[in-house]
């Protein structure tokens, strides 16, 4: 199985590490909303089809990637850098440094 890293090009899946479901939305660190935390930690869509995922090209350029993988066929319909998406922006804001 090949994954096309936006920086390195097509590479063997062995170079990549799955970093989890890409649909999760992390509550603000000071959030007291237990339902939101519960959803963040436990709730997963588990779709039979296209699934948003976070991967890391850990055996290459080490960047984090946002991918859409089909859980039935393993077809990867899109890959891109995780940095720059709305979640990354939210993380910067939560850190309060940028």
């Amino acid at each position: 199985m090949l994954i096309t890293c936006p920086y390195c090009g097509p590479r063997d899946v062995i170079e990549f590490t799955y970093q989890g479901d890409g649909n999760r939305e992390r509550p603000q660190p000071n959030s007291q909303d237990l339902d939101a935390w519960n959803a963040y930690v436990y709730d997963r869509l588990n779709p039979a089809g296209d699934h948003n995922e976070i991967w890391q090209h850990s055996g290459g350029c080490r960047t984090h990637l946002r991918m859409v993988r089909n859980t039935l066929t393993h077809e990867i319909s899109s890959t891109g850098f995780a940095r720059g998406d709305h979640n990354a922006a939210a993380r910067h804001k939560a850190g309060g440094k940028s």
Binding site: C8, I14, G59
Partner: protein, 200 residues
């Protein structure tokens, strides 16, 4: 007060580094293995949005102009630079002191300078079968159109990181962790056995 001695640079390959021809070389040597021993090996990283300023700093310090594009690089024999990740570059120089030169130019607003001179070992494989031997190690395309001269690639061999720069049509410089260098070198020698190799 005792005079400070400059420490002697030791190669991690020393116990297994045997100059001469080895393996199946009756019909000629198809691969030459050497340790290039650069005086400086650095990793430079730009903060997001500062990549162009870092590339300009590299040009200012080394005189090397990085080509556009992922994994682009250039080498002039003494100095070499290539991109190995977005906004990150490996720079090597035959001379020592490159970290100090970059520290003056790469300000904290631009990015970071990490001196890896003692942390990496640079191994050069050259010869008509270099591509073929490396293809046994790494699942990447070593053909010249896919991996042009000067370009860099970061990949792994059995979970050991390797950064590879093509420094000639049939020549590659491989940067590996110093602590894994001896093991990698031995594997490279075994892989080169069947084509005949010379250690220089």
């Amino acid at each position: 007060m005792a005079e400070r001695q400059i420490p002697e640079r030791l190669s991690p390959l020393e116990p297994v580094f045997h100059p001469g021809s080895h393996g199946n070389f009756e019909h000629g040597v198809d691969v030459i293995l050497t340790e290039t021993r650069p005086g400086s090996i650095l990793q430079l990283a730009a903060w997001p949005g500062e990549e162009k300023r870092l590339i300009e700093a590299i040009r200012k310090v080394t005189g090397l102009a990085l080509p556009d594009g992922a994994g682009g690089g250039v080498a002039d024999g003494a100095k070499a630079v290539f991109g190995f990740a977005p906004g990150k570059f490996t720079v090597a120089d035959a001379a020592e002191g490159l970290a100090a030169a970059f520290a003056k130019v790469v300000t904290p607003a631009i990015g970071t300078v990490t001196d890896l001179s003692h942390g990496r070992t640079a191994i050069r494989i050259a010869g008509p079968k270099a591509e073929w031997v490396l293809a046994k190690f790494f699942a990447i395309d070593f053909a010249l159109p896919a991996f042009p001269i000067g370009a860099g690639r970061s990949t792994t061999h059995h979970d050991v990181f390797a950064q590879i720069q093509r420094t000639g049509a049939d020549q590659f410089d491989i940067y590996v962790f110093r602590s894994f260098a001896r093991s990698f070198w031995k594997a490279l020698c075994h892989a080169s056995d069947e084509v005949g190799y010379e250690v220089q």
